[in-house]
Symmetry: C2
Subunit: 327 residues, 2 copies
């Protein structure tokens, strides 16, 4: 696919922080900066913070707006890609049908390209990471929530509106635990970092013995997925059980995707995936057990090559390819 060789600025906007960087025409990332989203200030202010982040990255790189082709934005949100809207964003209060693309374009005087963050990561990993040259892959990010991105026939698949691959809200346990989205039994409510922390707390409250009590100084409400992981590394059996259960659900959700998409590869990133083997091994086993033999034999479950930069890189590539296609 034709790709513009102008530098672009890529911005990753999440519930907590904004990451911004200049990506050169050769795909080199320079001048990365972090700032706070300050989501409680509302959409208008957050958009101002994003504009500031773009300008700061450029200044740090010794460039200005005239030297870039455009800006790519990866957002942890449901995106209406045709209209450039953030349709909904569970972690950004009051973001409903916010015209993020056009607001940024107006402020910056540059073309802006907006897409979902996990879709951006899928594209990044496909063009420059673990999935180079493959036809069909799924990117899954497991952190507080679960997001996804799809590459189909070598191209990012965004769906009709631009909100495809919302795999975190696939219901795998009807009437199961409540999810942040308001539904019950979503994949995310069973296999995310939030789910791991919730189940650990439930077991502690039910009298389970664990070094988590110590690690939280007795405040078991403070348990996080990261602490559960820490406890598991100390061979804590409660923590190991909780991770095994989440990994089983993770494998079931992945098996559903394997049966539906029949991909060559699933790339699993996000904070929770950094648990490594103790999550990947049981998740892979569960995935293989719950999918049909033929697609289960084909698919490889791997870690990202671009790490936490996959979304930024993908947003840049999306921008460069979109600019290339236009002219």
């Amino acid at each position: 696919m034709a790709r513009s060789n102008k530098p672009v600025v890529a911005v990753d906007i999440g519930g907590t922080k904004i990451t911004s960087a200049v990506i050169t025409g050769e795909g080199k990332m320079i001048s990365r900066i972090y700032s706070l989203t300050l989501a409680h200030e509302g959409p208008k202010k957050v958009i101002d913070h994003m504009v500031d982040a773009v300008r700061l990255s450029l200044r740090k790189a010794g460039l200005d707006l005239s030297s870039i082709g455009g800006v790519g934005v990866a957002a942890a949100a449901i995106i209406d890609i045709g209209r450039g809207l953030v349709s909904d964003a569970p972690n950004l209060p009051r973001w409903h049908n916010i015209p993020l693309r056009d607001s940024l374009a107006d402020s910056l005087g540059k073309p802006v390209f907006l897409l979902n963050d996990a879709s951006a990561a899928a594209l990044g990993e496909h063009r420059m990471g673990a999935g180079r040259g493959l036809d069909n892959l799924i990117y899954i990010t497991v952190s507080t929530g679960i997001g996804g991105g799809l590459v189909i026939n070598g191209q990012l698949y965004n769906g009709t509106d631009g909100c495809a691959a919302e795999i975190g809200h696939m219901i795998v346990l009807v009437d199961g635990p409540l999810c942040n989205c308001g539904q019950r039994g979503c994949f995310e409510a069973l296999a995310s970092g939030t789910a791991i922390a919730r189940v650990a707390v439930e077991r502690l409250e039910a009298g389970g013995q664990s070094c988590l009590t110590e690690l939280t100084h007795g405040k078991i409400g403070d348990v996080t997925a990261e602490l559960v992981s820490e406890a598991a590394r100390r061979d804590d059996s409660l923590a190991l059980d909780v991770i095994d259960e989440a990994a089983r659900y993770l494998g079931i959700g992945l098996a559903n995707l394997v049966n539906i998409i029949n991909p060559q590869m699933i790339i699993m990133g996000g904070g929770v995936s950094r648990m490594g083997g103790m999550l990947f091994r049981p998740a892979r086993k569960s995935m293989k057990e719950h999918a049909f033999k033929l697609p289960a034999r084909t698919v490889r479950l791997v870690r990202p090559r671009l790490g936490m930069d996959a979304g930024l890189m993908g947003a840049a590539i999306y921008t460069q390819e979109s600019l290339g296609a236009k002219g």
Copy 2:
């Protein structure tokens, strides 16, 4: 896409019957015949029956093998499309890695193209039925089991091996009722005709009052989805409840697909779908409730235009397009 204008023979092979027809270059179906699969006789004999069906259709049309471009086969099975194998087929005993494509090609001396029956129906409905001109659609067949087919960016999506869109075995209720595939809680185990019959029997055995007792002359083990539908049309409250429950699960499975694929349309065919409004209305409601607003607003849930011929037509189109692409 280039399409050969030679006539082809299309064959639909299911667990019970073989349907075969000649499809002209203009897409007209002639000389359709039905024969029995006689699956218990094993793969070799069934393939012989398919060869006979192809020859009989041709004779009835006043044609012979020299006048056709090839043969398209739609099979109710997991297909390894690259190797032309029936990888697995729950309704065809002993069909494991059977080289159906090459066996037929050898017997007939003609190119043979093999694909899953629901994928064939998706293609048929996209090219000549309810989904003409759309970019992204899902075909779902609800009968004894649940099958699916995907059209993505205007093209049939078969996945890496050719076995994509196995939506019937998406797990929606972990540790739920046993499915024919050996897993628990599959979409198919909750929303298919088999599920409807099973739940009705369970409720009758638990003492539920229903005209189904009469309709089966007291042999409640003989309850079928068709009889439950018949009872529901007589306003039987047990039957209506059972259908509502299946429709709720149907909507949940569809919502998962809506969130993952974000299609413009879902076309629901198969025997159970002939229940019409009493299934479609609650299924549509449940789908909209369980999916995100943006993709739920976009998608339309409709009936097939080609009816039971979608698979045959799709197998013919697949063959004509494959021959056209080869030149």
